[in-house]
Subunit: 209 residues, 2 copies
DNA sequence: CACCGGAACTGGACCGTACAGTACCCACAC
DNA sequence: GTGTGGGTACTGTACGGTCCAGTTCCGGTG
């Protein structure tokens, strides 16, 4: 028993994470069908056999790394939960939140991940659903809860907080995210993002205050 | 000469369009790397040789059909140019426009096309750019012009019409388009779309009237 | 500390298959 | 016959996945 565990902690576990990291990197870079198991093995400095010892096949490996990256979204979602509720600087605070959200979601890695999932949504429908629910809907729900607090304080006038959360993110993200999706390059300058955040927040407050 | 032309007009041209249609259908259905030239030839009821006689290789064929489908967007864009400007029913008119826009952009074919382009945006960056400019930016510019007319009439209060166009589409489309992107199924009922159109328009007018 | 046994790892050959692209032949029109 | 377009059969290659024979790691035993 003990022997087995310690063995797992050593070499095997190291190889396991090495494979995961390599796979993540290559998949994000070249897409699902663009990457071969040989590529992954090579980048992980591991033999192909070992890859197959840890992951039964390519699809399983892919699913694993995608779902693993989902966890990274937690930080972004936490952002949405913490909004200072001093009525004085509401616009300022919301703008800052908007700006952080923009930074998170236009991060090249995140964009690549979105691309990867969208690209394979028909082959791996479960992954698309899972990611949508765990990332998207959860984020919106969190933001809605935050808005509810603001509404309770009388800072905002909202009857459907979930809808308001949708509108807030739509105002902010529609442009830059679409651009990033279609034009590979993420050609947003910081100034662009500042503008999007300010303008989107202003429009949101005009509609919901 | 004439002989050649008539020959071209007959069999050859028919094959040409048959190939284009078949390719469009299969590419939309199975993605770029998911479709083989054999698939296309078979669906077009044509030999593979003939396919290669008309299109030098797979990439060229793909580019051709994607750019061809871009033209279909013209109808959608024209939508955005014609908005009745009687101040009485502004909200009603805008809501109708919103609803039509939603119908157009949640059309399964359009969604599939988006997916296709996004999925291959890193392999075919030109296609992504072209589509973004010809479809996206053109649509936004058209909508901005329409808003400008409304603003000139004093129906809306807008200082940056392009930004307003972005906000309008973001309010409307962020939710349904994202859902369609990630979850293969387009599970929008008509009632959903009605709601999105009404709510989005209301928020827009609250911000910009 | 030296050694042992077994599990995990390695490298590479290998199989089957799918697929982009090509060579060659046929059928029909002039 | 001569030329053009179409079809069949082929080539080369890349890749997912497996197999095997040898090697390394690591914990346990004397």
């Amino acid at each position: 028993m003990k022997k087995k565990v310690s063995t797992m902690d050593g070499r095997s576990a190291r190889k396991h994470t090495a494979i995961l990291e390599a796979a993540t990197s290559v998949f994000l870079d070249k897409g699902y069908s663009g990457t071969s198991m040989d590529d992954i093995a090579k980048l992980a400095a591991v033999s192909k056999q070992t890859v197959y010892k840890h992951f039964s096949d390519k699809e399983k490996l892919f699913a694993e790394i995608v779902l693993a990256t989902t966890d990274r979204l937690d930080a972004t979602i936490d952002l949405l939960a913490d909004l200072p509720t001093d009525d004085a600087g509401l616009e300022e605070n919301l703008t800052r939140l908007a700006r952080q959200l923009l930074t998170s979601l236009t991060d090249p890695q995140v964009i690549q991940l979105r691309r990867l999932i969208i690209a394979n949504a028909d082959v791996f429908p479960d992954l698309g659903n899972e990611w949508y629910e765990r990332g998207f809907e959860r984020g919106l729900a969190t933001l809605a809860a935050t808005f509810q607090r603001l509404a309770d304080q009388g800072l905002l006038r909202i009857d459907d907080t979930l809808l308001a959360a949708n509108h807030f993110s739509g105002l902010l993200l529609w442009i830059p995210v679409n651009r990033a999706m279609f034009t590979g390059s993420t050609r947003h300058t910081d100034a662009d993002l500042d503008r999007y955040a300010a303008a989107g927040t202003r429009a949101f407050l005009a509609a919901y205050r």
